[in-house]
């Protein structure tokens, strides 16, 4: 598809979408305490934009992975504070929402090269760890569904491995930190735990070391040299004729032609 054509069609879908939005039923939401009527089906983020907010912060990937758009909300008749990523959650009638895109949290300074895998490293850098009272507010606040308190407990118990594993999917949105009774900075601690776990606790991949050594010793020099001298057509041909790994292939799948292995 040519660039022009693509432009035109995406402009068309946009117009179409906007029409759909304008036809959609309007529902009331309260953004920072003020009521707006917005088309149903929007995400919290779109609803805020529809209401006139412009994001210069508090918005990044729009795909639920960057952690920039942490938001808290309440629904009528429910005392519980709820959390969401604004780019992921769809609005519901009468929600009260406020974004908490950033929450102050001090990150400890350290020279990573000097750190060992001893639990005391974490204790020293984040002594407030021991202020945790197990209130569990952090876990309730996590839009990623992480058992935040369990990871904090693991750190207290000196188990960096478990903390790193539980906290693996943390996207650093900061909502747990905003709710913490003990003023801990969970996401910075988890980042430290993951770093120590990755660099000091997980075993080195032997095959990787072997392979990089083999590369350094010139195992692929000839093959690369050959590719370098091929014409564009030859390269394309090679690419077209390549043997693809079937989607269902198991871990032990190997291509028939092993020249490049």
């Amino acid at each position: 598809m040519s660039a022009k054509k693509k432009d035109k069609s995406s402009a068309e879908t946009m117009v179409k979408k906007e029409r759909e939005v304008s036809k959609a039923k309007l529902i009331p939401v309260h953004i920072m305490g003020k009521r707006y009527d917005v088309p149903e089906g929007l995400t919290l983020m779109k609803a805020m934009e529809y209401a006139g907010y412009k994001f210069i912060r508090g918005c990044g990937c729009r795909g639920g992975t960057c952690g920039a758009c942490g938001t808290v909300y309440r629904k009528p008749g429910d005392y519980r504070l709820q959390v969401a990523l604004a780019c992921q959650k769809t609005i519901e009638p009468d929600m009260h929402i406020t974004q908490i895109p950033f929450f102050p949290a001090n990150r400890a300074h350290y020279e990573f090269a000097d750190l060992t895998s001893a639990p005391e490293e974490v204790f020293k850098l984040y002594p407030e760890l021991f202020r945790c009272v197990a209130c569990n507010a952090c876990t309730k606040a996590c839009p990623q569904g992480i058992e935040v308190m369990d990871a904090v407990s693991a750190l207290k118990q000196g188990n960096i491995t478990v903390a790193a594993q539980i906290g693996f999917e943390c996207i650093q949105c900061g909502l747990c930190t905003s709710r913490c009774f003990g003023e801990l900075v969970q996401y910075h601690m988890f980042q430290l735990a993951r770093r120590i776990y990755g660099a000091r606790i997980t075993p080195r991949a032997e095959h990787l070391i072997e392979m990089t050594k083999a590369i350094d010793e010139g195992r692929f020099d000839n093959t690369l040299e050959k590719l370098r001298h091929m014409s564009e057509e030859e390269l394309k041909e090679l690419y077209r004729k390549r043997e693809e790994e079937p989607v269902t292939a198991g871990e032990d799948w190997r291509p028939k032609d092993k020249t490049y292995l």
């Binding site: 407990s153 118990q157 000196g158």
Partner: protein
Amino acid sequence: MRLAYYPGCTLKTKARNLEEPAIASLEALGFELEEIPRWNCCGAVHSLADDDLIHQVAPVRNLIRVKEQGKDAVVTLCSFCFNTLKRANLLMKDDAEKRDTLNSFMDEEIDYSGEVRVLHLLEVLRDEIGWEALAQEVKFPLRNLKLAPYYGCTLLRPREVAIDSVENPTILREFLKALGATPVEFPESTRCCGSYQIVSSPDSISGYAWDILSSALSHGAEALVLTCPLCDYDLGQGQKELVKRHNGFKGMPLFYFTQLLALALGLDPQVCHFELNHGSPESLLRENGLLP
């Protein structure tokens, strides 16, 4: 037999020499300590302020984990954890108003009203196994070892949580007898070691430590037997200074009761992690032919 087990943070870091010999010994005795899943620090002290409910959340949450497992009792090794958990448990059992507040605060958990029994390992040894049966399992009696049982506070006070007579406890004495050792009674065995005062007034702690150690010594003890990592810290870390200050004092080895249990049962001394003890308990054991 499987026992729900609450370890506590310190046993996973500084006090592995309390935990590992216990796990190995119980296995040798046909019991399995089954660590409760997702436990958190118990908070280490029972809060005495009447309206300070937030500090009950941590211990109660652990008791809820035990209940979730379908267990009706939980065993601890650290006497501080024991005290904190048991007192929180009493509160949930006896104080309806606070129970309701705590249950509604923890609205993500199942309701709890003190159903779980909190036990210290010494109680399990006494009540589930019995001293005579324990004595029969002993492979290397700790003959000739003169050991002073030190209870400190948390196994015996307050009265409602005591595992034995508050005034005249005998449980550690009976335990040591079963292992073939010679228990040495001394008046300071239930005196406070100073607990967390070590943080704010280390000097007064060294005074307490001296009273306790010198009393045990003058009654003929060669070492002290403990159940608590905090007692171990308070009575152990200042000994170098006491040796300098008191002519003729050469320091006194401190043992966790679980280390002695493992030794007497004939387990590999490696599980005892003597390298984590204050002073050098190993030389005393070697002198008595209990270590190669």
